[in-house]
């Protein structure tokens, strides 16, 4: 639908914008030699938006509408019902890590784990956490670049080749992240977050208006008539929302998606500027996620009513199908504008996730592998240089993988989430249980990974339960092995004292509540 030149102008304008922001932030940082490439302290709105933007990925414009199209109302609910659990996670987990992070200047997720678990095997734990986080990075970055390129090919009716878009977007993304670092990623995430929020709701309203004359209940009625109510009941119109999936998918979202993905972990636990930021995160992120996903759900539902019967792959492109098939014949200029916005929104939401991931992956290599494991002490200047080289290498590897991506976008993203889940019990028990040991942490991580392998390879149930079995194994091993191996002299006993001290410094607890 978009011509060759229209799409290239869109891509060029978009790239110019993000590279401009990256260069500006880089210029600012040059005045501040102590500023890190990987971390920064952000005010609440920016922290909330960079958290949301780095979570959303291309899911929002591709796999999201497809998910609601195939999963129906009960699938949407299975996500929405558990969003406020983030407030609980913030109180019991992320805010506690944040308190210590202020004192100890953590950079990577492994820093938290290895600060708590300093007994024999601490280096092995750092290596395993770092490797798991790195493994989760590749499918995510790959899926994002692949989805943007597939979207580009789709909106241009194949007038631009898939490889050309991948190389252009991929290289621009890598350059932008390399130049700007965390601060520019956070700033562009905020801008892109606002953009994609507006675009998804615009598309939802437009879909409703053009397909059902703005009658929401008319659309609901049509959905009901289309499939006799399957959309509004279990297991959904395509049989997706089985009882097992109703448990496995939200569990992955609560544990993996909301906290354990490396780029999300850094935002939830390290980058808050003050307590107000952490508290706003707890209340605002569930609310904004609800609004964004609900816009996406309306798109999926309306498209289901108007274009039933699409297969899995085609359903990931319901938005361009809708623009092309319904809006273009009536209002071609508006359809063009909408297609450009759709593509920009997809780029924005995708790149904001991928650059966050790239940055986390680079900090893992620089801080965990080079500094933590090899023991090479880098100066700040060299650390930034190494970080940039690593971003470039990982980013280009993601670009290469995206040229021939495996499977559906949704499957790649969910694997990334699933693989980080077994780290959650190690983290939580480490924070809350003094008897948790380093040996147990290592055993739990290994056991958890075996659980992931069993789920995906042996049982072929990865698409239903994700990392649930791995998390359960990790939790059990963590408790059993800790009870068997606990020796106070071998563990970091100062950790809990320091955390309590940190909490006492920032909170006054109402004595009546005790």
């Amino acid at each position: 639908m978009l011509s060759f030149s229209e799409l290239w102008i869109t891509i060029a304008a978009y790239i110019a914008l993000i590279l401009g922001i990256g260069s500006f932030i880089n210029h600012q940082r040059s005045k501040n030699p102590g500023a890190s490439l990987f971390t920064s302290k952000l005010p609440w709105f920016q922290n909330v938006m960079t958290y949301i933007a780095s979570l959303m990925s291309v899911w929002l414009f591709f796999a999201g509408p497809a998910g609601y199209y195939k999963g129906g109302f009960t699938y949407w609910i299975s996500e929405m019902i558990w969003l406020p659990v983030y407030a609980l996670l913030a109180h019991f987990v992320t805010n506690r890590i944040w308190v210590l992070s202020r004192k100890r200047q953590y950079i990577t997720p492994a820093d938290t784990f290895c600060d708590r678990f300093q007994g024999p095997g601490s280096k092995l734990l750092r290596a395993m956490v770092a490797v798991i986080m790195m493994i989760s990075a590749f499918p995510y970055v790959t899926s994002v670049i692949a989805a943007i390129a597939q979207g580009g090919v789709r909106v241009s009716d194949g007038s631009i080749s898939y490889g050309a878009i991948i190389l252009t977007i991929g290289v621009a993304m890598v350059l932008f992240t390399t130049i700007g670092g965390f601060k520019s990623v956070a700033l562009t995430d905020t801008i892109q977050g606002i953009l994609f929020f507006i675009v998804i709701w615009l598309i939802a309203f437009v879909a409703l208006f053009y397909m059902f004359g703005g009658d929401f209940f008319g659309a609901v009625k049509e959905v009901y008539n289309t499939d006799g109510g399957a959309f509004f009941s279990y297991p959904g119109p395509y049989g997706w929302e089985s009882y097992g999936y109703r448990f496995g998918y939200p569990f992955a979202l609560i544990v993996g998606y909301s906290v354990m993905l490396p780029h999300v972990f850094v935002r939830a636990c390290y980058s808050g500027r003050d307590l107000k930021t952490q508290r706003k995160m707890a209340t605002w992120t569930p609310a904004i996620r609800f609004l964004v996903w609900t816009g996406c759900f309306i798109v999926g539902m309306v498209c289901f009513a108007a274009m039933p019967g699409l297969d899995s792959k085609a359903s990931e492109y319901v938005i361009p199908y809708m623009i092309e098939g319904t809006i273009f014949p009536v209002n071609p200029i508006f359809a063009h504008i909408l297609m450009v916005l759709f593509f920009c929104g997809a780029c924005g939401v995708g790149i904001s996730t991928a650059d966050s991931y790239l940055l986390s992956a680079a900090s893992i290599v620089s801080d965990d592998f080079i500094h933590g494991l090899l023991g090479i002490k880098l100066t700040r200047k060299n650390s930034i240089l190494v970080g940039r080289i690593v971003i470039f290498i990982i980013g280009m590897a993601g670009v290469m993988m995206a040229i021939n991506p495996p499977g559906l976008i949704a499957d790649m993203i969910m694997f990334s989430i699933g693989i980080t889940m077994p780290l959650f019990p190690v983290l939580v028990l480490g924070i809350w249980w003094k008897k948790a040991t380093t040996i147990a942490a290592n055993t739990a991580v290994i056991g958890g990974m075996i659980g992931i392998w069993i789920t995906y390879i042996v049982l072929h149930n990865g698409g239903t339960y994700y990392g649930a079995l791995g998390t359960a194994i990790s939790f059990i091993l963590m408790i059993v092995v800790s009870l068997l191996t606990y020796k106070p002299e071998k563990e970091n006993n100062k950790y809990h004292e320091d955390m309590q001290e940190g909490l006492d410094e920032i909170y006054i607890v109402d004595p009546a509540a005790r």
């Binding site: 558990w82 406020p84 109180h91 509004f232 279990y234 107000k276 909170y507 006054i508 109402d510």
Partner: protein, 99 residues
């Protein structure tokens, strides 16, 4: 780190709701009214309880420091980092001069 009563209730509520909501076979497959009631009821309960308890937690855990105090601390952390970076840069250039 002892849990407050409200924290214990919060955890128990979340786990119990998760278990109850995921009881296999409830609501039966294909039952539209049952699914809508189950889903909307579960969602309303989850949002109301979590946000209510969270608000209560904010009141119990009152901030000891002001925003300004946090900003001062952050500025101090940045200042130290800048000084260290400057020292590293100076040491680097001294080495180069020696060579």
């Amino acid at each position: 780190m002892k849990l407050l009563k409200i924290e214990k209730y919060w955890l128990i509520f979340t786990v119990v709701l998760f278990i109850i909501f995921n009881i296999p076979g409830v609501p039966p497959q294909g039952n539209v009214t049952g699914a809508i009631l189950w889903c909307v009821g579960g969602m309303a309960l989850s949002w109301i309880v979590h946000f209510t308890i969270n608000a209560r937690i904010f009141k119990i855990y009152k901030p000891r420091k002001t925003e300004a105090a946090f900003l001062t601390e952050n500025a101090e952390i940045d200042r130290i980092a800048n000084e260290e970076a400057m020292a590293e840069l100076e040491a680097d250039s001294a080495k180069q001069v020696q060579r």
